[in-house]
Structures are given as structure tokens and as C-alpha cells.
């Protein structure tokens, strides 16, 4: 149960996507006061992967040993560490890596709590409001091309950073999702994907959507095609946003049970649960917005 937001600026320069998403999420924080998260995309650096991990904030000794273990495991798997930093409760590392990203992802999942892996994606998420998370992780300083955001009211799972959104498509670099709703054929869909040896790190239905879409993309489908089949394959109520390193898209269930509203102009496309979030980008201006119809999807690409 939540509020979602997404923004993509046209062109290839870097914009204040962090600040834009903070404002949009602050506008719909009432939909989810428990935790807030951001999926932020910056132009990629070839051959480099950005990884973020949760580290236990309570225990400094454990913290150091946890980071040491992550480092060792990365080196074991053939990644060359180029840059590293601690931010809030995260350990962030940039590596040079030429191997199989899915294999690296699963191995790292087994060794630590991965938040995101991507050439351009970084996910920041924690308990508290958009401003709380910004205070801890300085999201407002983030400049990039596009991003997603999410505020969460935990209903069926715990209020923990790792249960927060956005969800990274475990195993697939650069695919992230924010979702409002409930997938009712979750276990059926998950079993199907697990039979094909995909791994899940939570019982959250949003992670399923991310993996489902990333799998379709990996099979050579376009994001449009993947979203089209998702509306047939996923059962329940949902409005979700997905992003890859070049694209952003939405899908909405046929029952129209979860809100979504979008605004588009020459500079950007912005989508959110409520218009009040869109208006945070344009204070004092009445916007010509559009509500996507039930059972529809659309995508935008950075090159437009």
C-alpha cells in the first residue's frame, strides 16, 4: 500500500532527479509513512558496476567485518574494486567487471544484503520519510537522467529497509520497479520463475514484477512487450512503474483499482499516484495531466 513516482528528463544531460523525486514523494507521503526509497539512474560508465549493500548500523565491528567479507567475495568473483564508500547504512562500491552479472548478483546475494546492482542504477531506501532518507543518504545531491520513488505503508511484511521499495530485479542489472497494489497470483508466478532457477530475496510481490519484466527483457522482448504481457499474466490490483537504464514505463491493471496520473511536456515525463506529487514539480501551475486507462501500459525512452 503506497505511493509511487517516476520522472524522466528528455536528453542526456544530468538533472536534479534526486531533488525532484524527494519533492514528489513528500507530496504523497500520506500514502506511506513507514519507508521511502529511490531508484536513481545516472549515465553509465562502460564496464563498471555500481553495487549497494545494507550493513547492520548497530554494530561497528560487524560492520567492518561485513564490508571486508563483501570486498573479499567481490574479488573472488573477479570484480576489480575501483571506488568504495559508506553512506548511511549502506556500503557502496564501484567495480570493474566483465563476467556474468546474474551469477555475480546471486553470489553476492548469498553473501550479503544487496540493494541494487547496475551500470547506471543505484537504489537508496530506508525507513522514514523522503526527508528522513534524504538526511541520511543525501539523495538531493543526486543528478541523473531518470528515476523512480516510492513511499510505503507496510501491510503484510515488516517495516525494514530491505522490505522497502524500489525493488531491484534480483539478478538483472539496472532494472527497478515501484508498485502500488497487490499481486494475487504471486506464488504461482514465483514458482514458475523459480523453476527456471531465478532467485528471490523477499516475499514481496513487487520483487516478482521486477524479475518477471527483467526476464522478459533478457529474452529479447522490448519493455513495451514485457509490459503488455504483464497485464495478462499478473492477477490482482496494481499500478507500477519500471525503469531500465534507458527507459521508463508503467502498467495499470484492468480493474483500475490503484491510482496513477501522468504529465508530459517537452522537458520531461512525470508519473505519480496522485496529481499533488506532479504539482510539486510545478508549484502554482495547473497541469494538463492524463490518467492512464485501465489495462494500459506505455514507455518512454531517453533518446526521445
Amino acid at each position: 500500500m503506497c505511493g509511487i513516482a517516476g520522472v524522466m528528463y528528455r536528453g542526456n544531460q544530468a538533472f536534479d532527479t534526486g531533488d525532484a523525486l524527494i519533492r514528489m514523494l513528500d507530496g504523497c507521503q500520506h500514502r506511506g509513512p513507514d519507508s521511502t526509497g529511490f531508484a536513481l539512474y545516472a549515465p553509465e560508465a562502460t564496464g563498471r558496476l555500481k553495487l549497494r549493500f545494507f550493513i547492520d548500523p548497530q554494530n561497528t565491528t560487524d560492520r567492518d567485518s561485513a564490508i571486508a567479507a563483501i570486498r573479499a567475495r567481490l574479488v573472488d568473483l573477479g570484480a576489480k574494486i575501483e571506488e568504495e564508500a559508506e553512506a548511511g547504512d549502506n556500503y557502496r562500491v564501484t567495480v570493474h567487471f566483465d563476467g556474468d552479472v546474474q551469477k555475480l548478483s546471486y553470489e553476492m546475494e548469498h553473501a550479503a544484503k544487496v540493494i541494487s546492482i547496475g551500470t547506471s542504477l543505484e537504489i537508496v531506501k530506508d525507513i522514514g520519510s523522503a526527508h528522513d532518507v534524504d538526511d541520511r543518504y543525501h539523495v538531493n545531491q543526486f543528478r541523473g537522467t531518470h528515476g523512480l520513488g516510492h513511499v510505503r505503508l507496510a501491510t503484510e511484511s515488516d517495516v525494514k529497509p530491505e522490505a522497502s521499495h524500489p525493488f531491484w530485479a534480483t539478478g538483472f542489472a539496472d532494472v527497478a520497479i515501484v508498485h502500488n497494489g497487490q499481486i494475487t497470483n504471486y506464488w504461482k508466478m514465483r514458482r514458475r520463475l523459480e523453476q527456471r532457477e531465478f532467485e528471490f530475496t523477499t516475499d514481496n510481490d513487487s520483487e516478482l514484477i521486477a524479475v518477471y519484466l527483467a526476464d522478459k527483457l533478457a529474452q529479447g522482448n522490448t519493455l513495451q512487450e514485457a509490459l503488455a504481457t504483464s497485464i495478462d499474466d499478473l492477477d490482482g490490483t496494481f499500478s507500477f512503474l519500471v525503469s531500465t537504464k534507458d527507459e521508463i514505463g508503467y502498467a495499470k491493471d484492468r480493474l483500475a483499482a490503484k491510482p496513477m496520473i501522468m504529465y508530459e511536456d517537452d522537458d520531461l515525463v512525470a508519473i505519480a499516484s496522485e496529481e499533488v506529487s506532479l504539482n510539486r514539480l510545478f508549484p502554482g501551475k495547473a497541469l494538463n495531466t492524463r490518467e492512464p486507462a485501465p489495462g494500459t501500459y506505455a514507455t518512454w525512452s531517453r533518446s526521445i
Binding site: H30, G284, A286
Partner: protein
């Protein structure tokens, strides 16, 4: 003309000023609205309000007489429950525009979102552009004009009213049909469109209810009189209840409908007892003076609390299931004992309001009888999510009870088998719910407690949501709760019994450290003060009685509440039957029963060694059965029941 700038004022401040300006008859302009929610909510004065920009959810919601213009878009639920007045929206409207309106005129110049006019009762909703999925869903009356295309499943499960479509009728909903349009109707539409300066299209299609689902094919036949002991199905294998069940189904060919409580034996409060020997409890004459019982409910977030003379209130029961006289008698009886009454579904009557000392006004998915004026004269507001006897299902009121008078107060067609919606139009998740709660608070100036009625189902999750969404208290209802009419299969087989329900609820609140953020009122088959004290020991802040109050007031427990011909005049709308009910006499009976509850609570609390009901604790209890020990985690200490309050001890 006064301007209120939302770049400077919060919506709450602006709405407070708006109400004052309304009293002064001053028109208002709202600047920089930026799609904020709840603009204009609760305004009941005939002023003009112009919103310069876009408004968010529930713009002009719960209003009467005011005229709103929004220059751009609106979010979900524009004009929610509006009585009279108008809203003109220059741009698009989100989902459920005109939800539950009772007479207003709402005009959307652009397109409108899904489920437009859901459960509307009267008035006109007009959309110049296209409608979306399920326009007119479950509407009871009034008219919807769609000048563009209808969207999918137009008129889904509408039971009254008309939908006129100028564009393409894409797809008809369940139990909707096309019909001929009369020339007076066209004239009336033209007059309406002229008034709002909208060009009239050449022709319209008209969609109405097809009448295939308004009544059950065969009425539920009265059952033979079976004593409750046999009815509980314990007496033998092919017992009279099973035989009756088969006989009734052999005629109707569907699930059975009946009233009253669950008959199946389930783990209950009678399976736990008191640790101490209470056989001497109540020996002292003045225990009622000695024990502090006065309890405030609903004030923990700053609202004006209900002030109960003891931790007891009346469970929500509807005018509809029960006769007007019965609701009146309960209101009188509850006031005599200084506790709160609850309207249940189906609205508030003047007599009930005047008789009740404190009255909780309940809001259900059909919004039957729900309105701003009665909200204002209530002492607390309650959002019904579900009911212990039939969690997840809406109420049933068979045609016999849907009299013209009752239909009028609910705003529905008379003589239908009313199956109330099981969901709220505007609460499809915890995220929508928080906006709904805020709307109620705005409409009543943040003065009234807002509670949620939860039938025990997914309690662990639901109670956490209730606390996060800022409710002041929750009325938690277990499976032993009764109903005026429900599927017999559901009553006996679906739900979570009251005892595990409260245990789960308290554990869940402890898990998130929120026990002090919400108060808990337990109900669901509580029979007397002994049950009440056990519930308080387990951790409830108060309890509510439904069936026992009805029984105190003359019910003979024949389990035929659904039929509508109640011989005692309680569960009926037939004046001939209702005549037999003597409200003043029954009010005294109810009062005396409630006083016996008071005495029991005092005597047991005193017997346990306390001078205040708030000192009762889990440590005062033991489990009398292994099952109850497993459910509650209390020590299993079977003992002489008679001395420990299971059946005989401490009953006055």
C-alpha cells in the same frame, strides 16, 4: 470575494475559514491549490467557491448547498456524498466522481475516471468527455450523462437510476440493459446542458437496470422453530438443523440466509477463567461505588472522547435489520446506563439521536443513510470494513424489510433484496483509507473520534493498518458476532473466533510498538459482565454488546431475523409487527441488563483485588481448556468451573 491562498495556508486552515465565510455568505477563491486533497470538504453554506487550478481527492466532499468551480482537474471522489449544490470541473476527474451523491449536480468538462457515480442515490453527474471502466457501478438512483463514450461495463450492477450516453456504448455491465428514451427525458437533459452552457448532442442511448438480480429468484422461506441447542448441531448426526437445512435448500436451490449469531461451538471467553477464587465476589454491597469504571474512548489523538460510565458500549446494529422502535429503545437504554449507542448501517433517525446520550455514526460501503448533517450531530464516526459474523461480505436486507420509508432514508429503490456492497468505493487499500479518514476529520473539524469496525479475518495485518492510518479506536468483532441476515454457511464457518482475534490483535500492536496508539473495543458474542471482565483482562479497553442487548430487550432467539416478520417487533419493518414492541418498556429492560453488567464488572474487579478496571490484567486469567491455553498462551489450569466464573460464579 475573499481569496484563500494554499501556498500560505494548510487545507485544514483554509477549510476552517471557508466554513466561516460560508456562514457569512461570502464567496471564495482558492489560489495555488496544486492538487491538494480535501478542498472545501464539509462546507454546508450556499456560497460560490472557485478553485483556480487543480484539486486533489474529495474536492467538495461531504458538502451541501455550496457551488464549486474547479478550473482544472480533480482527483478521486469529487463531490463525495454531496447533498445539493454543484461542482463544475474544467478539466478531467479521477476515479469515482460523484460517488454516493444524494442530489447534487456535478459537471466534468473533460474525461472522467473509472466507477463514476458509484453508489449514487440522486442528482446528476455529467461528463462532457469520455467515461471509463464501470460508470454507474452499483448506482441506486439519479442520472449520469456521458456525452462521449461509455467505457467498459457501463451500469455494472446498478439497481436504480439512468445512464444516458451520447457517444459509443462500448460494453454493458452486469444486469444493465439499453432501453428507449422518453421525450421528457431528452427535454430535461437539454435543460440541464443549457444551464451549464454545454452543446447538446443529437441523440442518446439510455442504460438502466435489467432487473435480473434485484431479487432472489425464490424468497427465503421461514424455518421451523428449532431450539438453539439443536440448532448448534451438537445433538446428533442428522439432527433437526441439518434436516431443515436440506429441506430449505431443496426449495431455494442456493445457500441459506438467516439471522442471529453463529451456532457452531467455538473456543470462546468461557474457555478461560479467573486465577483467583471469586466465589465470594460481590458480597460487598457498594462495589459499584468502590470500583472506578468510567472509561474514555477515542480521545488519544486529540478528538473529543466518548465518556462511558463503564467500559461498555452498544455494538453497531442497523435500522433496517432492526425496527425503528428497537433502535430507539436501545438508544434510550444506553443513555440511561451512560454508555454509547451505534447507528450501524442505514442512517440515523431523529428519535435515536435525541434518545442516545452518545451516538457513533457508522459509514458503510453503500453509504446508505450517510450524510454530513448526521455526521455533525454524531459523537463519533466509524468506518465499517467488515463484520465478525460474515467478514468480507456486505449486509443483506431482504425485500420484506426494504419499505418505502426505509428506502427513503437509505436513498435506494424500495422492495429490492438489498445486498449492500462489501467494499467501499473509495477505500481500496490502506493508502486510500488514510485519505478517507482525513476527509471525515476535515468535515467535522477534527472534533470527533474516528473508529474502524473490523471483522476478525486477517487481524494481524489489519490492526496494524488501523493504527498506522490514525484511527482513534478499533471495534474488533469476532466470529461469534451476530447478523440480521447472512449466508448460514458463512455465519457458521467463516471468520476468526473472538478469543484468538483479540490475542492476535494485541500481539500485532505489540510487534510494532503501537499498543498506546489505538484503543480496542472487543465484541463478538460477549454475553455478560463476566465475559466483559475477561476481555478487559486480556487487554481490551472496552467491550460492546449486541445480541445480549437485543435479548434483554425482548428477542426470543428464533433466528428468523432475516424474514422481516419478527413476532417481537424487533427485526421487522412491518408496522403491524412493530406495534407489539414497547420501546419504553424494553429500554428499561435493556437498562437493567446493562446495570447487571456494571455490577458484574465491579464485583469481579473488586474480587480480583482492584479498585479500577484498568488494573485488570492477563495475570488474572487461566485457560480452562488445552485449546484456550494454546490460543491465549495462558497457563492451562482446569478447575472447578462453578467457582471461577465460567458459568455460575459472580453472575448477578
Amino acid at each position: 470575494m475573499v481569496a484563500l491562498d494554499l501556498a500560505q495556508l494548510s487545507v485544514r486552515e483554509a477549510n476552517a475559514q471557508l466554513r466561516k465565510l460560508g456562514e457569512a455568505g461570502e464567496d471564495v477563491e482558492i489560489l495555488n491549490p496544486d492538487a491538494r486533497h480535501h478542498i472545501g470538504v464539509g462546507l454546508t453554506a450556499p456560497i460560490r467557491v472557485t478553485v483556480k487550478g487543480s484539486a486533489g481527492y474529495f474536492c467538495a466532499g461531504l458538502t451541501d448547498q455550496a457551488h464549486f468551480t474547479v478550473t482544472h482537474n480533480v482527483g478521486w471522489g469529487v463531490g463525495d456524498n454531496m447533498y445539493s449544490g454543484s461542482v463544475v470541473v474544467g478539466g478531467n476527474a479521477g476515479a469515482i466522481p460523484g460517488v454516493a451523491i444524494r442530489g447534487a449536480e456535478i459537471v466534468i468538462k473533460g474525461n472522467m475516471g473509472s466507477r463514476a457515480g458509484q453508489v449514487m442515490k440522486a442528482g446528476t453527474l455529467c461528463c462532457v468527455g469520455n467515461a471509463n471502466f464501470m460508470a454507474g457501478y452499483m448506482m441506486y438512483g439519479g442520472r449520469i450523462l456521458i456525452l462521449g463514450d461509455s467505457g467498459e461495463r457501463v451500469g455494472e450492477d446498478m439497481s436504480g437510476g439512468e445512464i444516458f450516453i451520447a457517444g459509443n456504448v462500448q460494453d454493458l455491465g452486469s444486469d444493465a440493459m439499453l432501453t428507449d428514451i422518453a421525450s421528457e427525458e431528452v427535454d430535461s437533459i437539454r435543460e440541464f446542458l443549457d444551464r451549464y452552457e454545454i452543446a447538446a448532442p443529437k441523440s442518446f442511448s439510455k442504460v438502466v437496470n435489467a432487473g435480473k438480480k434485484l431479487r432472489y429468484g425464490t424468497p427465503e422461506r421461514p424455518m421451523r422453530s428449532i431450539p438453539f441447542n439443536s440448532f448448534s448441531g451438537l445433538s446428533s448426526y442428522w439432527n433437526p438443523k441439518i434436516q431443515e437445512d436440506i429441506a430449505v435448500k431443496s426449495q431455494s436451490g442456493r445457500y441459506r440466509i438467516r439471522g442471529y449469531g453463529g451456532a457452531r461451538p467455538l473456543p470462546h471467553l468461557s474457555d478461560i477463567g479467573f486465577r483467583k477464587d471469586l466465589s465470594g465476589a460481590g458480597a460487598e454491597r457498594n462495589v459499584i461505588e468502590k470500583v472506578r469504571m468510567a472509561t474514555e474512548i477515542g480521545g488519544i489523538n486529540g478528538a473529543r472522547p466518548l465518556k462511558l460510565s463503564m467500559p461498555v458500549m452498544i455494538a453497531p446494529m442497523s435500522y433496517g435489520a432492526l425496527s425503528r422502535s428497537t433502535k430507539y429503545a436501545i438508544a434510550l437504554g444506553s443513555a440511561m446506563s451512560g454508555i454509547a449507542e451505534n447507528t450501524g448501517e442505514g442512517g440515523m433517525s431523529d428519535a435515536q439521536r435525541d434518545a442516545a446520550g452518545q451516538l457513533i455514526f457508522q459509514c458503510l460501503g453503500g453509504r446508505l443513510g450517510w450524510n454530513i448533517h448526521d455526521m455533525r450531530r454524531a459523537d463519533a464516526l466509524e468506518i465499517y470494513i467488515s463484520q465478525g459474523a460474515k467478514p468480507g461480505l456486505g449486509g443483506q436486507l431482504m425485500a420484506k424489510k426494504v419499505t418505502p420509508e426505509l428506502a427513503k432514508i437509505r436513498g435506494i429503490p424500495a422492495g429490492i433484496d438489498l445486498r449492500s456492497p462489501s467494499r467501499h468505493p473509495d477505500i481500496l487499500g490502506a493508502d486510500d483509507l488514510v485519505i478517507k479518514v482525513e476527509e471525515f476529520r476535515e468535515a467535522t473539524g477534527y472534533q470527533l473520534p474516528v473508529s474502524v469496525k473490523l471483522g476478525a479475518g486477517r487481524i494481524r495485518d489489519d490492526i496494524k493498518i488501523a493504527s498506522k492510518d490514525g484511527f482513534d479506536f478499533v471495534e474488533l468483532d469476532g466470529m461469534q458476532g451476530s447478523t440480521g441476515a447472512g449466508s448460514a454457511e458463512v455465519i457458521d464457518n467463516v471468520g476468526i473466533p473472538t478469543l484468538p482475534a483479540i490475542i492476535e490483535a494485541l500481539e500485532a500492536l505489540e510487534e510494532i510498538g503501537a499498543r498506546d496508539k489505538i484503543q480496542l473495543v472487543l465484541m463478538g458474542g460477549l454475553r455478560d459482565g463476566v465475559d466483559a471482565v475477561k476481555a478487559l483482562c486480556l487487554g481490551a479497553d472496552a467491550v460492546a454488546f449486541g445480541t445480549s442487548v437485543i435479548v434483554a430487550g425482548g428477542c426470543i432467539s428464533c433466528m428468523q431475523c432475516h424474514v422481516g416478520q419478527c413476532v417481537t417487533g424487533i427485526a421487522t419493518q412491518d408496522p403491524e409487527h412493530e406495534k407489539r414492541y414497547k420501546p419504553e418498556v424494553e429500554a428499561n429492560n435493556i437498562h437493567r441488563f446493562l446495570e447487571s453488567v456494571r455490577w458484574q464488572i465491579a464485583a469481579l474487579t473488586d474480587g480480583l483485588g482492584y479498585d479500577d478496571v484498568r488494573k485488570l490484567s492477563r495475570d488474572d486469567l487461566v485457560a480452562l481448556t488445552p485449546e484456550a491455553a494454546d490460543i491465549t498462551g495462558l497457563p492451562y489450569e482446569p478447575r472447578d468451573q462453578a467457582s471461577y466464573g465460567r458459568e455460575a460464579g459472580a453472575r448477578s
